[in-house]
């Protein structure tokens, strides 16, 4: 069970663990976050490497890192993946691989992706996704906890076994129809959750069935142990065995004087 906290200025916490039965080295999700200057805020990304592809972890990491180091928030991000793809190929080049591994690598690695840029001054976010990594926004925290955004999937039934994924080898196919973009505004204290598919599907299902975990995620989720407890509870209550990654961002409105400075 891994856990990371971002720089103190941002209230970001990342929780992750590999699927049951696998080692930490076999965990194939990735996440990254980075503070930005223009606009002032943060960029956060999660990516889910496809189990059935090879070297998927490397590709998921490259996607997440590329996003947080980039400045674009729209579909053009995917047109600028050439360096990441080159790096993926370079890491494999010259590696002696048996026939099946070499043939599999030729097919490329695949990953689902979600990137979110938060503009702390304007109090809004822009999200970009391909596949089934999800963003959930909860406002009115501390009271009834209203879910104001679920993106790009809105219901647990929309998760399938074959979401569209981004390949580490460009096959010339246009991604345009698969790219999803959404924007929203933020209020002080809003909670944004970025999650890979299994945990996102389960959180939505719990919500749909009247057992939302938003309050718990906001108030109690703080340590790797508390995340482990949630996963243990989930595994007994419909959480599919997969790699899990959950990034929680609590937005704090920047005081007016700070905005002006």
């Amino acid at each position: 069970m891994k856990h990371a906290k971002a720089a103190n200025e941002c209230d970001i916490k990342v929780f992750s663990c590999p699927k049951s039965g696998n080692s930490l080295e076999e965990y194939e999700d990735a996440w990254a976050h980075r503070q930005t200057r223009t606009p002032v805020g943060i960029r956060v990304a999660v990516a889910d490497g496809a189990t059935e592809s090879s070297f998927a972890k490397l590709w998921a990491v490259l996607l997440a890192e590329s996003y947080v180091r980039s400045e674009v928030t729209g579909a053009e991000f995917f047109a600028r993946l050439k360096p990441a793809r080159r790096l993926w190929r370079r890491r494999l080049a010259g590696r002696p691989l048996p026939w099946f591994a070499s043939e599999k690598a030729e097919q490329g690695a695949f990953a689902a992706f979600l990137g979110v840029q938060i503009d702390a001054h304007k109090n809004h976010w822009t999200a970009l996704a391909v596949g089934d990594c999800c963003l959930m926004q909860v406002d009115n925290v501390g009271k009834e906890m209203r879910v104001v955004e679920m993106f790009p999937l809105q219901k647990s039934s929309q998760f399938t076994m074959s979401p569209y994924l981004i390949g580490s080898r460009s096959n010339g196919e246009s991604l345009n129809e698969r790219i999803q973009i959404s924007k929203g505004s933020l209020r002080d204290g809003d909670m944004l959750l970025l999650a890979t598919d299994a945990v996102a599907a389960w959180l939505l299902k719990q919500h749909e069935e009247g057992r939302p975990l938003w309050k718990w995620l906001y108030r109690k989720l703080s340590t790797p142990e508390s995340f482990a407890a949630m996963v243990a509870y989930g595994r007994k209550n419909g959480l599919r065995n997969d790699d899990f990654t959950l990034v929680r961002v609590i937005h704090h409105d920047v005081p007016v004087e700070a905005k002006e400075s």
């Binding site: 699927k19 039965g21 696998n22 189990t51 059935e52 090879s54 070297f55 590696r95 691989l97 048996p98 026939w99 099946f100 591994a101 043939e103 599999k104 097919q107 076994m161 065995n241 997969d242």
Partner: protein, 282 residues
């Protein structure tokens, strides 16, 4: 609910192919003009399938044993394991071992897009595990008996796993007993996740019409075809969905059976049969 078990390295899937190697497998396959023998075409299809399974299980620089695969050939008076080379005599082999021990690796020419609107020849590696062979009668019941013995052991060792899938490929009728009775004994074996699945493909020697994944025996022309229908398991819901994706006329109660199959049917059917359930490979 049956057929939901996760396929993992701890609980791998089991595919056992029963291959008719009787004399009539020497005849041309379907309505093909190139006159390829059924036995030769089938060997190519099966080698390609094992190849694809190896690629599916390949993970970075290694291979995960998600599946154990066996091939039994039946001809003359008996049924024997049909994998060659270092794997001779083995009934079931983990996919990683299969990948590392083919009989030989051939180089074959594949037509591919040249990127300029044309077609070019590309040399590709073609591992071979299984060579064509044909001789004598069709002891299909002996094959089902041997399969029953193998899956009984498998299910004892993997009681919580996805039940084994047996795919029988034949161009004829059993010459050694009551096929339906033997099939019932085989499908009476199972794990906690359901009964063994027995799927049957009947190969065509002509270009005649085929009957794909029927829900009843009404359109089948003779007693032998009806017996194969009776001997076939109902497809799992996931197999039905996969069959529909491949454009095959599958319904909720479709049996895993094709009568008078052409080569493409065999390829599609094997694809369906080796994608057992709505599960991720772990």
């Amino acid at each position: 609910m049956a057929y939901q078990a996760e396929i993992s390295r701890k609980n791998p899937g089991c595919f056992l192919f029963l291959i008719d190697q009787s004399e009539s497998m020497e005849d041309p396959f379907g309505g093909g003009e190139d006159g390829r023998r059924k036995a030769e075409e089938l060997a190519t299809i099966l080698n390609k399938l094992i190849h694809n399974l190896c690629i599916r299980c390949a993970k970075s620089d290694s291979i995960y044993d998600y599946f154990h695969v066996g091939v039994l050939g039946y001809s003359e008076e008996s049924c024997q394991p049909a994998l060659g080379g270092e794997l001779s005599g083995r009934s079931l082999v983990p996919i990683g071992e299969l990948a590392s021990k083919p009989l030989r690796i051939e180089e074959r020419i594949k037509k591919s897009d040249d990127g300029a609107g044309g077609v070019m020849d590309q040399t590709v590696k073609f591992p071979v595990w299984f060579d064509p062979y044909w001789k004598g009668g069709t002891p299909m019941c002996a094959a089902l008996k041997e399969a029953t013995r193998i899956v009984e052991t498998w299910c004892q060792e993997h009681p919580k796993g996805f039940p084994p899938i047996i795919i029988n490929i034949t161009d004829g009728e059993a010459t050694d007993g009551d096929l339906v009775a033997e099939a019932r004994k085989l499908t009476a074996v199972g794990s906690d996740d359901g009964s063994v699945l027995l799927l049957n493909i009947h190969l065509s020697s002509t270009a005649g019409p085929s009957v794909e994944l029927p829900t009843n025996a009404n359109k089948l022309p003779d007693q032998h075809a009806k017996q194969l229908f009776e001997a076939s398991s109902t497809l799992t819901p996931f197999m039905v969905a996969r069959a529909k994706e491949l454009g095959m006329p599958a319904a909720e109660n479709s049996r895993g059976f094709i009568f008078n199959a052409q080569p493409l049917h065999v390829i599609h059917f094997l694809d369906i049969g080796t994608r057992p359930a709505n599960v991720h490979l772990r």
